[in-house]
């Protein structure tokens, strides 16, 4: 079994064993062991990748190719570059932390962990796929479990939110499938055979008319899950209703599928289309950044604040990708990573606060720092990292994005960049206000004077997420070099 396929096999085996679990203890143990193995494998993959990269200069390494449907030329083709490797590591961390955070799920725990792990298997499969068909299959496998996860274990208007989220994301994947057919049936433009293989299609010059036609399908298809304005509306309600671990996984990992797909599929395979459409989508992304930031200011519910903040930060990823240069792109990838970790931290913390105080309303919270010192401290750190304080991952990411964006000298991009940069201030406003209000200040509710301290599994989950934030923030050079090296071949197609 090759090193990459294991990332799909291990979750599947975990699910199979979970089916036979008898009690809550076994369920927790099996999920924990399975995801810990996954985590160890992802760390191992980073080192294996670095070792392989030193000798192997192909775009993708660890490639494997098995024919699946011969007449369609569909293959199970896999391979990774630095970007997929770091995304896989991010997923493994968030899923493992999610298992810790969900320790106390009591309603149908077995089903909860099974659905959660199936979702993660879809995400892992998505990141290793080099074949459009398999990629699409894994994408849908990652989306559908959200319906059950939000609908069964969620809170608030969960049925509505689950339905809205599922239908919007599946509608996006429907658009995507039209785009995929457009790419597939033009992949013989240079006289070769029809193919779904990404690397092979990249060698073909797809007619420009077809590229212009299908680029928006593929781009929107992916960008909806990356919270592109005005298709982001599923995200706030979905995140607010989802249980903690699901919000973490969804905002932390699933929404990253959007940005990843945009540059790996839409821009790489349809470069001419990308060049012709960037201006239009840049405007949408800019609106998304500002709209998300102001949306977050207006919210009173902690989860809604974080959901709108995610819209803002992920629109920044799309904005950076549409800037089409190396610095901005590496900023986009690091921003994906950084936001994935930080938003997962935020959702985990909100879940812990909510679990103890039974409210997410800012007005009803205050001075919790004194009663929950550990959670409070991590909350403050996360908040500061989120608004881009140097020393944490957020700063590295935003720095790269803005420097990259300023490399363009034309007035149109300058103006958009200035607008986007100003969102930093807005971010600082809502983050500082939120942290200040609920953590510092006087105690609002007397009942909050004595709350259960953070338990061991909560602490493990938080620390697991916090460590990479600091590592990226203090030692960004290695990561950034690794990513830039992998970006180069993708960018060459566009210039």
């Amino acid at each position: 079994m090759d090193i990459l396929t294991l990332f799909v096999i291990v979750p599947m085996v975990t699910v199979l064993i979970l089916v036979f679990a008898k009690n809550l203890k076994q369920v927790r143990l099996i999920s924990l062991v399975g995801m810990a193995i996954q985590f160890a494998m992802s760390i191992n993959l980073i080192f294996a990748y670095l070792k392989e990269r030193a000798v192997n200069k192909d775009i993708m390494v660890f490639t494997q190719d098995y024919t699946w449907f011969e007449s369609f030329n569909i293959h199970y083709a896999i391979g990774v570059d630095a970007i997929s490797v770091v995304m896989i590591a991010l997923t493994a961390i968030v899923v493992l932390a999610g298992v810790f955070i969900s320790w106390k799920v009591d309603d149908l725990p077995k089903e909860f962990f099974i659905t959660l792990i199936i979702l993660s298997a879809g995400v892992f499969g998505f990141f290793i796929s080099l074949d459009l068909f398999t990629l699409f299959v894994f994408y849908e496998i990652a989306v559908i479990p959200m319906y059950l996860l939000i609908g069964i274990w969620g809170s608030g208007p969960k049925e509505f939110s689950a339905m809205k989220l599922t239908l919007m994301l599946m509608a996006a994947s429907a658009l995507l499938s039209v785009g995929i057919f457009g790419i597939y049936f033009n992949s013989n433009a240079d006289g070769g055979a029809l193919t779904f293989n990404i690397l092979e299609i990249a060698q073909v010059n797809i007619p420009v008319a077809a590229q212009n036609l299908f680029f928006p399908f593929v781009f929107i298809g992916f960008a909806v899950i990356g919270a592109l304005f005005p298709f982001h509306t599923w995200s706030p309600s979905g995140h607010a209703s989802a249980p903690t671990a699901v919000s973490m996984l969804h905002a932390g990992v699933l929404m990253k599928l959007g940005g990843y797909g945009v540059f790996r599929i839409a821009m790489y395979l349809l470069p001419q289309g990308a060049l012709n459409w960037t201006d239009f989508f840049l405007v949408l992304a800019t609106i998304g950044v500002i709209y998300g930031a102001f949306g977050a200011i207006m919210q009173k519910d902690l989860k809604y604040i974080n959901a709108y903040a995610s819209v803002s930060h992920l629109s920044l990823v799309l904005f950076a990708l549409l800037m089409l240069n190396k610095t901005a792109w590496s900023g986009a990838i690091i921003q994906s990573l950084s936001h994935g970790l930080l938003t997962a931290l935020f959702f985990a913390l909100i879940g812990m606060v909510y679990g103890r105080t039974h409210t997410r309303d800012i007005a009803k919270l205050g001075g919790i720092m004194k009663t929950l010192p550990f959670i409070g401290a991590v909350y403050v750190i996360t908040g500061l990292a989120y608004l881009g304080l140097p020393g944490f991952s957020g700063f590295v990411a935003e720095m790269n994005v803005f420097v990259g964006a300023f490399e363009h000298a034309d007035i149109f991009r300058r103006i958009l960049t200035i607008i986007v940069v100003s969102s930093i201030v807005v971010t600082a406003v809502y983050i500082l206000r939120m942290v200040g209000k609920i953590m510092m200040g006087p105690l609002v509710n007397e009942e909050h004077a004595a709350l259960l301290k953070a338990t061991w599994y909560e602490k493990v989950g938080l620390v697991l997420l916090l460590i990479p934030v600091v590592i990226i923030g203090t030692m960004p050079y290695g990561l950034s070099e690794m990513i830039k090296e992998s970006i180069a071949p993708f960018l060459e197609r566009l210039l």
Binding site: W68, F69, E70, S71, F72, I74, F133, F136, V137, E140, I141, I144, Y147, L148, G151, I152, K158, E159, A162, M163, T166, L167, M170, A171, A174, L175, S177, V178, F181, G182, Y184, F185
Partner: protein, 476 residues
Amino acid sequence: MNWNELLLMRFELGLLAIILAILVFEIFASKKQKGSIIPFALILFTIHTLIGFLPLEDGSLFGGMFKSNTLLYYFKNVLNVGVLIILLQSADWLKEKIVQQNKATEFILLLLSSLLGMYYMISSGHFLMFYLGLELATLPVAALVAYETSKRESAEAGVKYILSSALASGTALFGISFLYATTGNLYFDVIATTLTASNLSVLGFILFFSGLAFKISLAPFHFWTADVYEGAPINVASYLSVISKGAAVIILVILLFTVLKPLLPFWSKIIYIVAIATMTIGNLFALRQQNMKRFLAFSSVAQAGFILLGMLSVDELGLATVLFFVTVYIFSNLGAFGVVQAISAKSGKENINDYEGLYRTNPKLSLLLMLALFSLAGIPPLAGFFGKFFLYAAAASKGYYVLVFIAVVNATISLYYYLLVIRAMFLRKNPDAIPHFNSKFYMKLGLVLSAIGILVAGLYSPLYEYIFAISTNFLN
């Protein structure tokens, strides 16, 4: 005539032998033994199904009236498996309700006679043969629809079905007579070479197509579907929605790709419009259904619209994708109908609201229904996803991107109503949920067979590759 040639009719002769054996059994069995007709028929039909997988040669009989080739063998096998699952799913219902009324034998006889008609219909090489097969396939079903004589709805559904299907058959026959008028012949092979586009032949095609469209319940010929499905016993409804519809789809696609190919410019427009109408109308009506049988009826109308996408690519890709989709559709729909039947048999409840909280009392049935509905909605890695994706691919290969776009939008709409059932089963909590029960052996076997089909038929790529190979052979 060489007796070996009769082997080409092995499926038909075998089935005829079973029908006769059951008839003889019915005559000689004492009153106490009547119940054992069910295992007897099941064993015979299982053997028949297994024999069907033995290889056979291509050829034709009776001067080209009856044709046989690998593609038809494959599809007869699919029909066999489908009917076997239906028989298994009906076995308990027959034993508990129908044997007392002394009508179990007739049920099986009528079902198998109709299947015999389907065999002849898809194997025909002559319009007369086709018409005989069509009638033999339709008339027994009318009796089956009205089988629960104690229920008024069942009798009403029977009358509705026989009246509308008689009208449809008549229309088809009228159309055939027009085709005869333009070509002077009824043999498929001759018509394929002499047919030219004229007002008369196009009119003939439209009338003929209307007749078949009724069987497939394409819009605007779908009005009978919901009422008949609701009134009929559930296993008959599932027979109508998978076997009867599947056979009609196959003969339609074969005729369109071979005999009626000269009229391609005309029929491609008709199929294009009918596909959009069927998908959209089926979906919009399914949105608001409360009764599971009506719900599945409209969902199967919508599914028929998707099948038409594959017919627009008039090549081996289109034929293979249609065949493949019908195969996986049979498994998915039988899974859904099987669960509905199991629940209805135990509790008599058939409304979506009654399914609330089902997962907490009957997890296995709920999971199977979820798999079947997800497969119908086209969610990977279930078989239905591959079926739909390939149908889209067939339409896209000829540049029908707009149609594919309309189809994927419709697929998203359909996901909404499939999720409504899943919402009831999984998301809702209900103290009065249908209590836990265990299905009997036959029912379990029937459900497990369809579950295996749903899980494996798509992922296991050699199945599609085999269908593609036989389709390529068939068209060349």
